[in-house]
């Protein structure tokens, strides 16, 4: 299978985790069996890590609070920032942790049910970790676009029914 075809399959799955092998086969013009084998190989090798669903929880009626927390850390010899990052990302309420350039070192996304819950987490868990010097918390007010998905009504189809 060519690299281009592989990329095509991955892109289809990235956009729609639900796409079945027979459908992908039709879309790419590859034999279904080959697609099935390839996907399985990727699942085993970890190129496909898992399949997830993008959910608009707000629309569902569930209140969730997110905060971006920038953390300043004193790096340590031998481990840099890694050990502190690990202590942070092991908490299930932490959505993501990145090492970033600039005045802060780690940028975390933390999820909670209330502002108080997130604030408590920061004050009691995050800020008290050794070598964490400071935190600055930005609560998320509105989500416009996340991971490539736009959280607004999609643009209507303004085309006429039949055109030349």
């Amino acid at each position: 299978m060519t690299t281009q075809k592989m990329r095509e399959i991955l892109k289809i799955l990235e956009r729609d985790a639900h796409a079945a092998p027979d459908q992908i086969a039709a879309l790419t013009g590859l034999p279904e069996e080959e697609v099935r084998r390839q996907i399985q190989a990727w699942e085993e090798s970890g190129i496909i890590r898992r399949y997830k669903t993008v959910i608009d929880w707000e629309k569902f009626g569930e209140e969730k609070v997110f905060a971006f927390i920038d953390v300043k850390v004193t790096p340590a010899r031998g481990v840099g920032f890694d050990d502190v990052a690990e202590r942070i990302y092991r908490y299930p309420e932490v959505h993501s942790v990145y090492l970033v350039s600039g005045t802060q070192d780690l940028r975390c996304v933390v999820e909670g049910r209330t502002i108080k819950e997130v604030a408590d987490f920061v004050a009691q868990k995050l800020a008290t970790i050794d070598r964490v010097n400071s935190t600055s918390t930005h609560f998320l007010l509105k989500k416009y676009k996340d991971d490539g998905d736009i959280f607004a009504e999609s643009e209507a189809d303004h085309r006429l029914m039949v055109t030349p």
Binding site: A26, L27, L160, V162
Partner: protein, 425 residues
């Protein structure tokens, strides 16, 4: 569908006017248009009848349009169009196809390919000149030839060889009055593309018999198999070829109405003359947006083309599975399957499919008599809708014909009258 009564005509004492232009009055309205009127009034219709991208213009291009409005670019441009844009177009054609057109004297910005086509025919034709047009073909070709005073000579193409435009068939239709050959590759409605060798054979014919070539290349970027050939780059073609292209399909910019023609200086000069008196210039806003398209929208184009290609494979395979035999369309975003197994004519098929299963397709006969036996389905439609359409069409095909007739569901709305009549020839 109720038409407003023309009360004025009946009012007493009204004096008759002289008849309007006979060529135009005798030209039947587009078969597509009639079909549209019906489909538009129905609900829950999946339309495969749309001849334009289902993408909205990429945001960066729209943003450039907004910016140009904010900056007050609301004036005329030069008749030929913005030189910045013409330079980019010529560079783009050179980079992609090796074409060599001078932006100053051999490129003109038009209000879509439609205007370019009209201009080309007007400057090429004298009254009574014949234009060879392969059939089935885009609905506007024949009327535009007639409006320009020309006579259409159809050249039949067939599904069995992927609607190849045979030089022998073209040669057989040549007469001393033959002035031009007008065709598109990739083509609407068939999705067919012509090979470089076949195109060269057509160029050789044009040289041998001294006629012009008008090449509609609006679907050039939507070529999925092989490479597109810009006709003007073939040996012998340049001095007698008008290349028509635009931004509508590749950049999903149909509503912006911006296209271009590239042709040798003598032809471009005359086309510019008509354009400067009839149109003045293409929309300034659209021209600025087109510059952004050429500068920065290549990744968007590639993304859209890849998406069409996936749907093309999926949809054509689906059509063949449900008994609508379809050769592989290599370009554009149309499948043009045969409806032979249904035992119906294309108008009846399209009409019943719309009434019984609420799927709108365009009868092949709208694209000329040799389009009979086919329907045009656009796969520029979201994948889930294509799946649903295939489902409905499959159900339609499985239903035995007598059953369809016995149900007594005579369609309330008749659309066959005049549908497709006179299109294309």
């Amino acid at each position: 569908m109720t038409r407003p009564e023309k009360r004025e005509d009946a009012s007493p004492g009204r004096r008759p006017c002289k008849p309007l232009n006979t060529v135009i009055a005798n030209c039947p309205p587009s078969g597509i248009r009639r079909f549209f009127d019906i489909a538009q009034q129905m609900e829950n219709v999946i339309s495969l009848g749309v001849g334009e991208p289902d993408f909205v213009t990429p945001w960066r291009i729209r943003e450039a349009g907004i910016w140009s409005l904010e900056r007050g670019y609301t004036t005329y441009t030069s008749n030929s169009g913005l030189l910045d844009l013409r330079q980019r177009i010529c560079a783009h054609l050179n980079r992609r196809y090796g074409a060599d057109y001078d932006p100053v004297s051999e490129c003109l910005i038009t209000v879509g390919v439609s205007e370019g086509l009209d201009l080309a025919l007007r400057v090429v034709l004298n009254p009574g000149d014949e234009v060879l047009v392969p059939e089935p073909c885009y609905v506007s070709y024949a009327p535009c030839v007639e409006f320009a005073g020309g006579v259409v000579v159809p050249v039949k193409t067939d599904a069995c060889d992927g609607f190849r435009l045979h030089a022998e068939r073209v040669a057989a239709a040549i007469t001393p009055r033959t002035k031009a050959l007008l065709f598109g590759s990739p083509a609407n409605p068939t999705g067919a593309t012509q090979s470089r060798a076949d195109l060269q054979a057509l160029v050789d014919l044009a040289v041998a018999h001294d006629f012009y070539l008008i090449s509609d290349e609006i679907y050039d970027r939507l070529t999925y198999v092989g490479q597109h050939t810009c006709l003007g780059t073939l040996p012998g073609a340049r001095e007698r070829t008008v290349v028509l292209n635009g931004f509508s399909k590749a950049y999903a910019m149909t509503g912006w109405r911006v296209g271009y023609v590239c042709a040798p200086e003598p032809i471009t000069t005359l086309m510019t003359r008509v354009h400067q008196y009839t149109m003045l210039c293409a929309s300034h806003l659209a021209q600025l947006a087109a510059i952004e398209a050429l500068d920065n929208a290549e990744p968007d184009v590639e993304e859209m083309v890849a998406d069409y290609d996936r749907r093309r494979r999926f949809f054509v395979q689906g059509l063949n599975r449900i008994g609508l035999d379809c050769y592989e369309p290599r370009g554009a975003f149309y499948a043009f399957p045969s409806i032979r197994r249904s035992g119906m004519r294309s108008e009846e098929f399209a009409e019943r499919l719309l009434m019984e299963e609420r799927v709108a397709v365009v009868p092949g006969s709208a694209f000329g008599p040799s389009g009979e036996g086919h329907v045009r389905c656009s796969y520029a439609t979201a994948l889930p809708l294509l799946e649903e359409a295939l489902e409905r069409m499959g159900r339609f095909m499985r239903r035995p014909a007598p059953d369809r007739l016995d149900k007594g569901e005579a369609p309330a709305l008749r659309i066959s009258s005049g549908l497709g009549a006179g299109q294309g020839a």
